[in-house]
């Protein structure tokens, strides 16, 4: 029997069925209208560096530039066109299709309430220049991008992992990184606390402290099926149902059965 083929370059979840004739529609990429504010934004970038593509998608301008021109483009937009806030910066993993990342810079002009996105393509193992001197918000965003996507940033003042631990291996948001984590991630705590040699002793079934063993009688009371603590697993299944009663007949005075006629139900709080 042959194992089914699973692509290794993208291990994220896939649709289990797609019609053979399905062609995904595209959101139209409209040309930038002449004389609009967006056209002036594009002109300002064109003056500073090469613009590969510029279009409007769902009302927002998208400008494609070369990855080495990112600082030049953002500088032109900030200083000439008033885009003084970098609201978001991150990357999209296209390693499988195109061998690189699309880095996007989401800019906002506060005075005109206008947003645009500058995008550039960075090949794997290439770096982008930091935009930290222009926008301080790039400080953490670039660290996060490096941490989770593995896009290197040149001349960043403190390029260190932001979210994952310092000694982490791999970049979790890449498409090659499985959702449940790779081997390093799954054994991280065990390796760190007990050392690698403890992997065999602990074993994969005890690796996860959140794992629940349904026959564990040490840690879990089995409501309605109580057995003595630490009872062997065979006993659990055979255990008969132990009905729970909250009120003993002639029991303690304060623990009484609820009688509907003697109790008052508030229809409203306060």
């Amino acid at each position: 029997m042959m194992r089914p083929y699973t692509p290794k370059d993208n291990v994220q979840k896939k649709a289990y069925y797609t019609d053979r004739f399905w062609v995904a529609p595209r959101i139209p990429e409209e040309p930038v209208p002449e004389g609009s504010d967006y056209a002036e934004d594009v002109a300002a970038v064109k003056k500073a560096c090469k613009v590969l593509n510029a279009y409007i998608q769902r009302g927002q301008l998208v400008i494609y530039v070369n990855s080495e021109d990112n600082v030049t483009a953002l500088k032109a937009l900030k200083e000439e066109r008033g885009y003084d806030m970098l609201s978001e910066l991150s990357a999209v993993d296209f390693l499988a299709e195109r061998g690189g990342f699309e880095v996007f810079y989401q800019l906002l002009n506060l005075n005109a309430a206008r947003r645009l996105r500058v995008k550039c393509f960075v090949e794997e193992n290439h770096a982008v220049e930091s935009v930290n001197p222009l926008y301080r918000s790039a400080d953490w965003a670039e660290r996060e991008m490096w941490d989770l996507m593995g896009v290197k940033v040149n001349n960043h003042p403190y390029l260190k992992r932001l979210i994952m631990p310092d000694d982490w291996e791999g970049h979790p948001l890449r498409k090659t990184y499985p959702l449940e984590g790779d081997e390093f991630a799954q054994w991280y705590e065990v390796d760190k606390i007990f050392g690698k040699e403890a992997r065999d002793i602990i074993g994969p079934e005890n690796r996860d402290p959140g794992r629940i063993d349904r026959y564990d009688t040490e840690r879990f009371a089995r409501l309605g099926h109580e057995v003595p603590r630490g009872a062997p697993a065979e006993m659990v299944d055979k255990a008969e149902e132990t009905p729970i009663s909250y009120q003993e007949e002639e029991g303690v005075f304060l623990i009484q059965k609820l009688s509907a006629e003697n109790s008052k139900v508030l229809d409203k709080r306060r």
Binding site: R58, S87, L173
Partner: protein, 410 residues
């Protein structure tokens, strides 16, 4: 170099034994005033902070990764867990982003819009009350905490009556809302909204002219306009620097262009100015809610957008029409397939600009989803505003920036 894998504290670039008299202390991640899992490494000269390094990631759950492995409707309840103080704002931000990706934003029925705007504003009040309560507690005003939680409880009762949940609401769906308002809910809301301004006045009487409160807040944690712009600060932090920018006004979504409300602004830039903004914003939210109550009755009882390609038909259709049932089956098991493209949609959450960037490749799973959470930047700015202030002000500044770690670490 220390051994990093032996569970001993490991501080990169930090020396503990130094010639100068600086002391390095570790704040958090388990600290009641850190408002979550914030670890701050502070370098002190006497009581003055020389350097502050925020360390985050203790609440990282990989939500962006999870989004890539979930269909769009599946991910919506996960967004609750970002800013868990005001969960509906996140639900709404995500739903709006997907709606804009699908191009069905204007097909959402008007009643759904009214209900959504109501929920958003109730969540804003809940969030602001929670902020005031915990911030006042941090600074030392215990009774304000109790009063605010009383009021917040009533607002959460409203949310509970509507959707059954108090904290993680999931009260918005892509394309509308799941439920109409229950009987008597509008009356309860009107009562809450009418009483809220006098309650806010009570808090102000306790705090605004309080000598201790003013001493602890005035001139503390000053963020000027340039720094706020540069760090991408939004929400009350940006408006406290004199920049009047509220996404509800500038880039209106939902019904905000029809509603009358003011955007409070101050140019002090300090914690006290922000406190005043929060109080005024709650009043404006009450004002918005009052207008929405009047708008509700004029709407048709339709709750979900009619876009059979993307959104399941109403229950009656599913139960009576074969094709609707088939479509519903496909939408539930496989999920909707948005067109290829990308959107970035900002909304004004109680904490600032909450944006969702979605890159779709025509699959039922988003190819990339990036959450632009306001607290992320409001936490990053700590490394620039803490140096120069005193150790006693750290808790005030952290509390005042209104950061919540669910959305910083995601």
């Amino acid at each position: 170099m220390q051994q990093t894998n032996k569970l001993r504290p490991f501080f990169e670039n930090l020396e503990f034994e130094r010639e100068d008299n600086h002391m390095v202390i570790n704040f958090g991640p388990q600290h009641p005033s850190a408002h979550g899992q914030l670890r701050l490494i502070l370098e002190l000269d006497g009581e003055q902070i020389v350097r502050a390094v925020p360390d985050i990631g203790y609440l990282h759950r990989g939500m962006e990764k999870m989004a890539e492995n979930m269909i769009y409707n599946e991910f919506l309840p996960t967004t609750d867990r970002m800013d868990y103080i005001a969960a509906t704002s996140n639900n709404y931000g995500f739903a709006l982003a997907v709606e804009r990706l699908l191009g069905i934003e204007d097909k959402v029925p008007r009643r759904a819009k009214v209900i959504r705007t109501m929920l958003l504003e109730i969540n804003r009040i809940i969030s602001h009350l929670f902020w005031l309560a915990t911030h006042a507690l941090d600074v030392g005003a215990m009774s304000v905490f109790l009063y605010c939680f009383r009021e917040r409880e009533f607002a959460m009762d409203l949310m509970e009556d509507y959707c059954g949940a108090r904290l993680t609401h999931s009260a918005v769906r892509i394309g509308g809302v799941p439920l109409d308002l229950p009987d008597g809910w509008l009356g309860a809301l009107a009562k809450f909204v009418n009483e809220l301004p006098s309650n806010i006045k009570d808090y102000e009487d306790l705090l605004t002219e309080n000598r201790i409160w003013r001493m602890r807040l005035e001139g503390v944690g000053v963020i000027d306009a340039d720094l706020a712009r540069s760090w991408g600060c939004t929400g009350p932090i940006l408006r406290a620097t004199g920049i009047e920018y509220d996404i509800r006004k500038e880039e209106p979504y939902e019904l905000y262009d029809e509603l009358e409300f003011d955007i409070p602004v101050t140019n002090t830039g300090d914690s006290y100015g922000r406190y005043k903004l929060y109080m005024e914003e709650m009043r404006q939210s009450a004002r918005i809610l009052q207008q929405l109550i009047a708008m509700y009755d004029e709407t048709e009882p339709e709750l979900m957008a009619h876009v059979p390609q993307y959104i399941s038909a109403p229950k009656e259709d599913i139960m009576t029409q074969n094709y609707s049932l088939m479509q519903h089956f496909v939408l539930v098991t496989q999920g909707m397939r948005p067109p290829v493209g990308e959107v970035y949609v900002p909304t004004e959450s109680p904490k600032g600009e909450l944006g969702f960037y979605i890159n779709s490749q025509g699959e039922p799973y988003p190819y990339r989803l990036k959450v632009r959470a306001p607290s992320f930047w409001h936490c990053g700015i700590l490394q620039d505003i803490l140096p120069g202030s005193y150790i006693a002000d750290v808790v005030t500044i952290i509390g005042n920036t209104n950061i919540v770690f669910g959305e910083i670490d995601r």
